[in-house]
């Protein structure tokens, strides 16, 4: 059974083009493959992303008549760009992977294959057998720990890989990704826009007092009683 595209995007039926686009952007941010890289639930996130893209495409084609005519050009071009974006992403991944494979030993390749299949024990066994502990070894070990949920060790291994080979884009990217994930979570809008960030009485009084002092410096007066 196909899901209702409005429900998939979380908008009301008959929502305007702008509302749909906004909801779509939010969802893309939420289920972006970058966020789920190295996560055991990555396949489910992919599926969700496909569902969202399909719903968006459908609504852009069939959304309320007036909008369709007015925005026809822009909607098709934005559709195009969303898909290009997706395919660019995946081809970039493949390229990265292939570049990696070219100068890697057979064992490293096998370990990566195990990791891609989600076979963590297999990957760990191969890594344990390897003698040459180069930057790539630490990187792969970090990925295995990450997938397992051992984030402390994942971080130190990937950091070590970056320190050993600072020019490698893939390692640096993985390390940045780790930092971004935890930063992004801590700065989520729910937490960040709540009562903590709004000024309390102390701040308000302080600001008023400050403003009053400044005015007085300039010869004026904001609060006449003090």
């Amino acid at each position: 059974m196909k899901k209702n595209p409005y429900k998939v995007l979380g908008v009301k039926e008959g929502a305007s083009y702008d509302e749909i686009k906004k909801a779509y952007r939010e969802l893309v941010k939420k289920y972006h493959p970058d966020r789920y890289r190295g996560n055991p639930l990555a396949d489910l996130a992919d599926e969700k992303m496909r569902e969202i893209n399909e719903a968006y495409e459908f609504l852009m084609k069939n959304a309320g008549g007036a909008y369709q005519y007015d925005y026809d050009d822009s909607s098709t071009s934005s559709q195009g760009s969303s898909y290009q974006y997706q395919s660019q992403q995946s081809s970039q991944y493949q390229q990265n992977a292939q570049q990696g494979y070219a100068d890697e030993s057979e064992l490293e390749r096998q370990a990566r294959a195990c990791l891609n299949r989600g076979d963590l024990n297999g990957a760990q066994r191969i890594l344990d057998r390897m003698r040459n502990r180069n930057a790539n070894w630490y990187y792969l070990q970090g990925l295995v720990f990450l997938r397992r949920g051992w984030y402390d060790r994942a971080y130190s291994n990937i950091q070590r890989a970056v320190n050993m080979d600072p020019s490698n884009f893939e390692y640096r990217n993985a390390l940045n990704n780790l930092n971004n994930q935890s930063y992004g979570y801590r700065h989520n809008p729910y937490y960040y826009n709540n009562y903590r960030s709004s000024p309390d009485m102390c701040q308000i009084c302080g600001t008023l007092w400050c403003a009053d002092s400044c005015c007085e410096c300039m010869g004026g007066d904001l609060i006449s009683c003090c």
Partner: protein
């Protein structure tokens, strides 16, 4: 369990808080009805969260009644009608509480633990019968945890693994039919279990230094008996990363769960309550006295 999973109350709507408390009361009552009055004392917030989370996977409307309860005789309160998820949460509470007390008894010869363990014995037998396979897995993992603690395991990640896996086992509720959803719940459980274990280890640092008990943080960062506050300050960022990353994985799993209801409460806990708790404990403002139930 430890009672670390709490909503960020000032941000919660009153209605949402009442529903949350309604779930808590309902799990508590369900324990009373099926296991007797004494085991009701063992309930913590964490299991109320589990009930809210699991119930969010079904789209049946929430049904509740306003009733009076002898634990809170003054005002009538909302009570969510018991369903399979609420009963599951109460069963898991019995199993976890029993093992927790048993552990206290065998480790520290804590008398309270011994008595509690005896009091929960028959309730535990009943719950065990309902979920034999799960109980067996949990017992296995607890054995693993004990082994790591005896060996004074010097890796926080490794020491957290058995407890995190227990929570995976608990969150993977057999009453959730969709297999993919069970997988999502399992990963959420694993990460929340990891977070609870590490946070609890941090919270216990001072006590463990005093008593010389095992604590994975003291082992991994090689505490040399110097100033504890300086030691804590030197490793705080590392622990903060580990805890926050675990929570970010919880959030990612939650995003994929597609909760059908209770989103107000769940969003509040996942996006805010857990961060607030992390900060409180990391800054050491949470003494043991703050770990109380409603």
């Amino acid at each position: 369990m430890f009672g670390y999973v709490e909503p960020d109350k000032p941000e919660l709507k009153i209605r949402e808080f009442e529903v949350f408390r309604g779930y808590y009361c309902s799990v508590c009552r369900s324990i009373g009805r099926r296991y007797g009055q004494v085991p009701r004392l063992s309930l913590s917030y964490d299991l109320a969260f589990l009930a809210v989370l699991l119930d969010a996977t079904s789209h049946e409307a929430i049904q509740g009644d306003i009733v009076r309860c002898f634990a809170h005789p003054v005002r009538k309160r909302l009570l969510i009608r018991p369903n399979r998820f609420i009963e599951y949460a109460s069963d898991m509470n019995i199993i976890l509480a029993y093992y927790n007390l048993k552990d206290k008894w065998s480790d520290e010869k804590n008398l309270l633990g011994g008595c509690g363990c005896l009091a929960l014995q028959s309730a535990f037998k009943k719950a065990e019968k309902r979920y034999q396979e799960k109980t067996r897995r949990i017992e296995e993992l607890l054995g693993e945890l004990n082994r790591l603690e005896k060996a004074r395991c010097a890796s926080v990640d490794e020491a957290a693994e058995p407890f995190a896996s227990i929570m995976r086992e608990v969150f993977e509720c057999p009453h959730v039919e969709d297999e993919r959803r069970r997988k999502v719940l399992g990963w959420l459980g694993y990460n929340i279990g990891r977070w609870i274990y590490i946070l609890d280890a941090w919270d216990d640092l001072a006590d463990d230094v005093k008593s010389g008990s095992y604590n994975p943080i003291l082992e991994q960062y090689r505490y040399d008996g110097g100033d504890l506050d300086a030691f804590k300050a030197s490793i705080k960022d590392k622990l903060d990363f580990s805890l926050t990353y675990s929570l970010s994985e919880c959030e990612k799993a939650y995003a994929l769960l597609g909760a059908e209801k209770n989103t107000g409460i769940l969003d509040n806990i996942i996006y805010s309550g857990l961060i607030v708790k992390t900060d409180k404990v990391l800054q050491g403002r949470c003494g043991n006295n703050e770990k109380k139930s409603i």
